[in-house]
């Protein structure tokens, strides 16, 4: 009885509401203004993301980077950057740490990523691996600090920063590898085994070339995420300083040192922006073509 009545009622309601919203939306869409609004509001936020970068580069040539117009222009900030040595060690350490994190991400994400889909019930392991994505950076940093420094009484240093970075970067690396692994046809390996290929040859000659985009992506994400990681590093740094920590301390406390990070950030951006832009553009353009 109710089964017959209820759908009728809901259908009538939908019809009634439909008619009203129909007229409304037809007016909305026919104006085309809403499509433009949707587009331009989004673009506005993208522009808002890049204004600081442009302004950063402009102000790095200004005599007083922290105030008003980028005038008078000068190269002083770059001269003092070249003379200053304090930023060199953090930069070198960040690059080395990023490379290590990228390499470890590549290897671990490959080893785990190709094994997880072959499990009977992969859900639990996957959820565990992705947990750090749901934990705010500060919370993870505080938890690692309390555990390593206070509870285990260990001396913090690069190794603890490394752990903080791995916890952040590995879930992304794993996701990238999983994307390619789930498309991989496991029968290819069985065929190779039937033809007498050894375990290593099966991996190196068949699996690795197919998984390569995901593995390289994992390494790249590992490097980039580590190179810019700040919030976890702040807590587990011990007495070490990475590039983002150096920028943060300079920007937050020592006003007189700010001009240096303007020119330093500009130099780093000038190197990394074109590389990242080119790489991601190629990646997304190719993804779009294959899909």
């Amino acid at each position: 009885m109710t089964d017959e009545v209820l759908p009728n009622i809901s259908a009538t309601i939908h019809e009634q509401m439909g008619r009203k919203s129909d007229l409304f939306w037809r007016q909305v869409v026919s104006s085309r203004g809403w499509v433009q609004l949707a587009k331009w509001l989004g673009l506005l936020l993208i522009i808002l993301t890049y204004i600081p970068l442009v302004w950063l580069a402009l102000m790095s040539f200004s005599e007083r980077p922290l105030s008003g117009l980028p005038y008078p222009l000068t190269l002083d900030n770059y001269v003092s950057l070249a003379g200053d040595k304090a930023w060199r060690l953090p930069l070198v350490e960040s690059v080395i740490l990023g490379l290590i994190v990228g390499l470890v991400c590549m290897m671990v994400a490959t080893a785990v990523g190709r094994a997880v889909p072959r499990m009977h019930r992969p859900g639990g392991v996957l959820l565990l691996a992705l947990t750090p994505l749901f934990v705010p950076a500060l919370t993870m940093g505080a938890a690692l600090f309390i555990f390593l420094r206070e509870y285990l009484d260990l001396r913090l240093g690069m190794w603890s920063i490394f752990i903080g970075h791995i916890v952040w970067a590995l879930p992304f690396a794993l996701l990238l590898v999983l994307v390619v692994v789930t498309r991989f046809d496991i029968r290819l390996l069985e065929a190779a085994a039937d033809l007498g290929a050894s375990r290593w040859r099966r991996f190196w000659d068949i699996e690795f070339p197919i998984l390569r985009p995901g593995i390289i992506g994992a390494g790249l994400f590992g490097f980039l995420l580590s190179f810019n990681e700040l919030l976890r590093s702040i807590f587990v740094r011990g007495s070490e300083t990475t590039m983002p920590i150096y920028n943060w301390t300079m920007a937050a406390s020592h006003q007189s040192q700010v001009p240096i990070i303007f020119s330093l950030a500009t130099v780093i951006l000038a190197v990394t922006l074109p590389l990242m832009g080119g790489f991601f553009w190629l990646l997304f353009a190719r993804l779009d073509r294959t899909s």
Binding site: G42, L66, H120, T131, P136, L138, I146, F147, A285
Partner: protein, 307 residues
């Protein structure tokens, strides 16, 4: 039924063990390491929130709720409420801008070059150093910054607008763009997965664009919207660099309190505040999942997407 199915069916410790070992040594090794560096630290942190400090030493005996009570007494809940309010405001603004934009990007944008460029532009900020691009808002928004200087020179205003920097406005403004991509991407991915034929069929059957949006696109996009909200809220809840640099000490959020507590060696307080962030996030997450369930089982949508 093959032997593999039998193993998969078995439950309990033995079933768990066989499942762990079913794909070689990599998974169990990873699980052990991950438990040690992710789960155990988080649990120890929760444990610490019930401890006390005596003479700058953590006192492990008789855990209590003392730290939690003092948090209420010392008025730290003001920071909690402020954090929740700013997070909620920003998440709503992000969603309102991100959903239409993602819809346009996924379905409306015809040029593949433009699409790839925009996605690239949205990806890059994810890998940029935070401090240097936030500090630069100071010479833009400050009292002798570019906006005030230009407006005063043009005679539009006579006094510099002081509310633009070191205020809640500045904190909101500074966090708007950096967390936009995390909202757009999940929604965009889900929308691109929606088959164009569904939308076509909906309008062929006489539905208006509004009805199609409400009854076809929105329910299918729901997992992406939930993911977007979660991934925007998680960093916002513990934001720390932006409020510090743009709030100028006037806008204290939970993140600042955690950092200050750790700096002052008040470990139980820092632990309790961090635990609170996790609890608040978990509650919001559960509410989100429950409210989205009402519009149709989430699992069902994921299954249709997997096709």
């Amino acid at each position: 039924m093959s032997s593999v199915d039998v193993i998969a069916e078995s439950r309990g410790v033995k079933g768990w063990y066989t499942n762990m070992m079913s794909a070689g040594w990599a998974v169990p090794a990873f699980v052990i390491v991950w438990l040690c560096i992710v789960i155990v630290p988080l649990l120890i942190m929760v444990y610490f929130s019930f401890l006390d400090m005596k003479n700058y030493q953590v006192y492990y005996e008789d855990p209590s709720f003392k730290t939690w009570w003092t948090m209420i007494d010392t008025g730290r809940w003001v920071a909690v409420v402020r954090t929740l309010r700013i997070t909620a405001t920003l998440t709503v603004i992000q969603l309102l801008i991100a959903f239409p934009f993602a819809l346009w990007l996924a379905k409306g944008c015809q040029s593949k070059g433009v699409k790839a460029s925009l996605i690239t532009l949205l990806t890059i900020p994810f890998f940029l150093d935070a401090s240097s691009r936030i500090i630069v808002w100071r010479p833009i928004l400050g009292t002798n910054g570019i906006i005030n200087t230009v407006l005063m020179d043009l005679g539009v205003i006579t006094q510099p607008m002081e509310w633009m920097l070191f205020s809640e406005f500045a904190v909101h403004f500074g966090m708007l763009a950096p967390y936009f991509p995390t909202m757009v991407f999940p929604i965009f991915l889900v929308l691109t997965l929606i088959d164009d034929e569904y939308i076509q069929a909906s309008s062929d059957l006489g539905a208006s664009p509004g009805q199609t949006l409400l009854h076809v696109i929105l329910p299918l996009a729901l997992p992406g919207i939930v993911a977007g909200i979660v991934f925007t809220m998680v960093p916002l809840m513990a934001a720390f660099v932006e409020p510090g640099m743009l709030g100028g000490g006037f806008v204290n959020l939970l993140g600042d309190s955690i950092e200050a507590a750790l700096r002052n060696l008040k470990y139980p307080t820092a632990a309790a505040l961090s635990t609170l962030v996790m609890i608040l996030l978990a509650v919001l997450l559960v509410l989100l999942v429950i409210s989205s369930r009402r519009r149709g089982p989430l699992g069902e949508i994921f299954r249709t997407m997997k096709r």
